[in-house]
Subunit: 210 residues, 2 copies
DNA sequence: TTTTTTTTGCGATTTTTTTCACAAAAAATA
DNA sequence: TATTTTTTGTGAAAAAAATCGCAAAAAAAA
């Protein structure tokens, strides 16, 4: 397949930029506007579109509404995506309070924890005992989960999720997850993001001296 | 330079794996152990080390303590890295409560907000008025900042940070930041991470049918 | 109507990244 | 001591990703 992680991330970025342009009243866009907006080259934009079979109009650029529709379809935004969270701690509570997911068609359906003091059955996003996870996943046909438990619990939680039928995990715990072949695990490791930043700040600092 | 974002992220992963192995009592490690631990190939591990001038012992693998030291030096972990946060909202409060950063030599020094109701001068990590940002950055020679403000405020906050002398930003807001040449901006976009996951779950789902 | 200008689409080329493959070193074994 | 085994280190090869370059289409101008 043509798609790799970076190309899909770029599609998400194009989508964001298009939403912004649309809300500013723009109707069409050229590849170099998009390139500007997301920080890549115009030929990268066109190549990405070409690989996904998206075409525009010579000299006319791309119709924003049409382009958005296609990107949204590719990114699975034609339907609401239900997501659960395991581990109702600090990260989870930031995510649950965030209003931006719903706007993007991502619905946090429920959170789960082992600690009974965290349970809140009547919240808008209920926090439920781990024991109910399987039922909720099955009844709602949920395929995506977020892991926000301490690192030591991450693998066992992942195993439970796979058993329940989850196919994709976004893992905040700094632990590599062993997963079945038909499942995907993506990682958000904030320490590593900061280390990365520190490295490149140091590099720039050193090259400046020369 | 040899380094790109992915290779540095891999170094962070090796470091994590090594810490774990060390705490389990291991003293040496082979490239294929590390490959296993982080999910890449053994030759990738050796090539990465080779590019950073790290060498081991033929037939003897790598000395964990020695290797860790070198990785930590490359990743700037030989000194404590002070970091500030702008926007003391949901994300920021999750980050401030997290104990893992200090263990990794990353010290959240202060947070800043424009909303006076958020100020907490006496917290362990104080939440201060934006006006004090410049002074704190200068006095502590801070180079790294995290942006956790609403998207509309992100660019103006970034400009303020650059003016104060910040060289690297980790941006949680879903907005591209225009930055000077000698500064780095990395992005954490959780919507995009979830979209990515959804895309690849859909792809796997479709290929399975065939 | 003809010419010029602009912008796409995509094959070709270049660059970057990953994997391969094997000599060399060193330990283990015979 | 000689042979076998194991593992590194790194050029060479392959694969993947990004960029280039230009024909073709279409709008705008002449
Ligand atoms: N908070 C941050 O800013 C931050 C930053 C980087 C990484 N992380 C990582 O994200 C993860 C979550 O961090 P946090 O700060 O939200 O942690 P937290 O301690 O606030 O929350 C963890 C929650 O998981 C629950 N839990 C523990 N074991 C469980 C299990 N087996 N099943 C279900 N629930 C379980 C706990 O009861 C708790 O409510 C951790 O792995 C952490 O390393 C967090
Ligand atoms: N919370 C999440 O889970 C989540 C998920 C994805 C993305 N994000 C993004 O992260 C950012 C922060 O999200 P949040 O949920 O923490 O938001 P929040 O609304 O809880 O907090 C934002 C804080 O920024 C402060 N602020 C506003 N303008 C400011 C300015 N100019 N200078 C300084 N402070 C200012 C506000 O007073 C508030 O305290 C947003 O851009 C959001 O889109 C958050």
């Amino acid at each position: 397949m043509v798609a790799n992680r970076n190309s899909i991330i770029r599609l998400s970025r194009y989508k964001n930029a298009l939403n912004r342009l649309q809300s500013l009243g723009f109707v069409k866009v050229f590849s170099d506007n998009l390139a500007d907006a997301v920080g890549c080259t115009a030929s990268q934009v066109r190549k990405d579109f070409s690989l996904f079979g998206i075409s525009g109009n010579k000299k006319g650029g791309y119709q924003i509404d049409n382009l958005l529709e296609k990107l949204q379809y590719i990114l699975g935004k034609d339907k609401i995506q239900k997501v659960i969270i395991v581990g109702a701690g600090n990260i989870a509570s930031a995510l649950m309070k965030y209003k931006g997911f719903e706007k993007e068609g991502i619905r946090l359906t429920a959170a789960f924890d082992i600690d009974p003091s965290k349970f809140k059955k009547n919240n808008e996003i209920p926090i439920l005992p781990l024991e109910e996870l399987k039922t909720v996943v099955k009844e709602n046909q949920i395929r995506i989960a977020i892991i926000a438990v301490p690192d030591v619990a991450a693998q066992q939680v992942a195993d439970l999720l796979f058993e329940a039928g989850i196919k994709g995990i976004l893992n905040f715990a700094p632990t590599r997850i062993k997963s079945p072949d038909d499942c995907v695990v993506n990682y958000v490791n904030l320490e590593h993001e900061l280390e990365n930043l520190i490295y490149f700040v140091n590099v720039l600092d050193k090259t400046k001296v020369k």
